[in-house]
């Protein structure tokens, strides 16, 4: 069963995922932009895969390509899960 997608839980999973992908953990916050974190479209697809596995929320490339900040991504996942 997928984990319930609370804001805190989604944020934790996404932050861990981004760090795993090579982003500097200390730089990661809700306000941090993917551009500043050097997270590109390929990374975002990987984040989407992590989110799908964890929360059962299916995100397509189209959904994630315009995300600007970590907070945007967290909010999108929480919104889609409810």
């Amino acid at each position: 069963m997928p984990t319930e997608a609370t804001t805190d839980e989604v944020e934790r999973v996404i932050v861990d995922g981004l760090a795993e992908l090579g982003a500097d953990r200390e730089e990661i916050s809700r306000e941090a932009t993917f551009e500043n974190l050097d997270v590109d479209s390929l990374d975002l697809v990987e984040v989407a895969q992590i989110v799908e596995e964890k929360f059962g929320v299916e995100l397509e490339g189209e959904d994630v390509k315009d995300l600007r900040t970590v907070g945007d991504a967290v909010d999108l996942v929480v919104a889609r899960s409810s």
Binding site: L21, G22, A23, D38, L42, V45, E46, Q49, E58
Partner: protein, 406 residues
Amino acid sequence: MTRRVVITGVGAVTPLGVGADALVERWADGECGIEDGAGRCSDFEPTEFLSSKEARRSDRFSQFAIAACAEAIDAAGWGDAFPYEPGEIGCVVGTGIGGLGSLEEQEGVLRERGPRAVSPLSVPLMMGNAAAATLAMRHGLHGQTYGVVSACAAGANAVGAASRMIEAGDAEAAITGGAEAAITGLATAAFAAMGATSPSGVSRPFDARRDGFVMGEGAGILVLEEAEAAKRRGAPVLGEVLGYGATSDAHHLTAPEPSGREAARAIELALADADISAEDVDYVNAHGTSTPLNDRTETEALKAALGEHAWRVPVSSTKSAIGHLLGAAGAVEAIATLGALRRGIVPPTLGYEEPDEDLDLDYVGDGTRPLQSQGNGEANGAGRRIAISNAFGFGGHNAVLCIAAE
């Protein structure tokens, strides 16, 4: 005026360790990097050369290329500000198979977890041009950049193509070589299935007991520069790509054409390109795979191309010390050849003990010896030493580099 191409930096990651010096010196010392039937780069630790993000975004073959390239650029003294405009620097890197390990891993993901779990990095990791693209991106090179895919001739074809690029004036400098990381489950089984690899796990080129090649992995990268431009900037000139010849057997998918006719023609073309005669060749760095067919055919080709000189010139195989690095082999062995010339030595064909019928050249089975200048030709004067390095690939690709060093 003819543009000449000099070698100003080299770097290597091989089963004998990280570094071009380790390759040449350990081979010359008679050390063998093959363990348990494979030549693995066990000393290689990716995070010493790459950030964790870069490591995730490059297959092992590209990682080898990145490390070898860093060494080569450093040796060339390129520093942080490269001595040429980015658009004047080409990048050509050969591979036999590319990111096979990544392909196999993601094939497993596809089978076990379905298509939605397949990594978006799969294609950029596995594509054959990944090493070339990665080096160009990492170092901001804007000249012609591509991969060369000609199986076990790829590394030599790449160096040849990069040399031609400079000779033609399409680039002032080039980063070139070959990279391979194919000691995977699929490739190991596949090469064994076709009877190419050694059941005994021993690489002993030209020996009567040879029974196939031993798989190796690694990369070799060379920095090439137009000779006059290198001179102007006071570059450390290690040697020269004196000539290049390449032909195709057009005979069989895997077996060499038995007479070695087209392999011989590649050697002849390389000598003609270098404007030297067979007697000027001081050393032959053989393709010498340790397969029954290659070593016999290569011997025939050397006899056809070099005539009587074939029996006088020492012929040894780097693969006796590191196994067969497939698409990296031609580049790694060009670096080994250059290292031998610069040191004035002929490293041995390790494990060569029992002569085979008709394989009657001097395969240097008796350990490293001083390089004797053959001294028969005018080209080989003034302390200049000349060698050829052969590379032949499945598909009938023949590539020969003629290398000189002071």
